[in-house]
């Protein structure tokens, strides 16, 4: 089963003394603040989980694979994720 935002809200609602609306609000805040942080070009470091980095990609010449036409791909920023050692160990069944 895939974990979704609704599952996170449900989990917070069950484990904390909050209304459903409050639980939703906190999960939304968690995501909004994380997104805003990355949107500003700031890295997000979550100990025990991993880090989200912003990488600057230079403009480069590319090709449309379908038509073979050359085109310039503009410089852009991308988000990369590096899992922490703890997360990697947990995923591999250790700890």
């Amino acid at each position: 089963m895939t974990l979704t935002k609704a599952d996170l809200v449900q989990k917070i609602y069950q484990t904390h003394n909050l209304t459903k609306a409050q639980a939703t609000g906190v999960v939304e805040a968690f995501l909004k603040i994380s997104k805003d942080c990355l949107s500003c070009g700031d890295d997000l470091l979550i100990s025990g989980f991993g880090k989200f980095n912003i990488k600057n990609k230079n403009a480069r010449r590319g090709r449309n694979p379908q038509t073979g036409n050359e085109l310039i791909l503009d410089a852009r920023k991308v988000v990369t994720f590096k899992p922490s050692g703890i997360l990697r160990d947990r995923v591999n069944g250790q700890v």
């Binding site: 089963m1 895939t2 974990l3 979704t4 935002k5 599952d7 996170l8 989990k11 917070i12 484990t15 904390h16 409050q22 609000g25 906190v26 999960v27 805040a29 968690f30 995501l31 603040i33 994380s34 997104k35 805003d36 942080c37 990355l38 949107s39 500003c40 070009g41 700031d42 890295d43 997000l44 470091l45 979550i46 100990s47 025990g48 989980f49 991993g50 989200f52 912003i54 852009r76 920023k77 991308v78 988000v79 990369t80 994720f81 899992p83 703890i86 997360l87 990697r88 947990r90 995923v91 591999n92 069944g93």
Partner: protein
């Protein structure tokens, strides 16, 4: 931004005591880690998704000594950035 700054920002925005915001943040992260540890995926609209990729065992080499080593099969979490976040990051806010 690190985890304690994130918790502080949540506490302020949601008007929660620091301890409560911290506990909720840890529950969110623990739930995500448990999901991935079971080999299941996470999909958060607008943010991104996490999937587990499985790798077979292979013969590797220690790049420094050239020594042959057996790399055991492993699983790694992968993050794919969501459309909304991808666009926001590119626009710089």
């Amino acid at each position: 931004m690190n985890k304690s700054e994130l918790i502080e920002a949540i506490a302020q925005q949601e008007n929660l005591p620091h301890r409560e915001a911290s506990s909720i943040t840890n529950t969110i992260l623990e739930t995500m880690i448990d999901t991935l540890a079971r080999g299941e995926s996470i999909e958060i609209r607008g943010f991104g998704s996490f999937v587990i990729k499985e790798y077979d065992a292979y013969h590797g080499r220690n790049p420094k000594t050239g020594e042959k080593i057996e790399v055991p099969p492993k699983r790694l979490p992968f993050f794919k950035v969501g459309k909304e976040l991808k666009e926001k990051v590119n626009q710089g806010g």
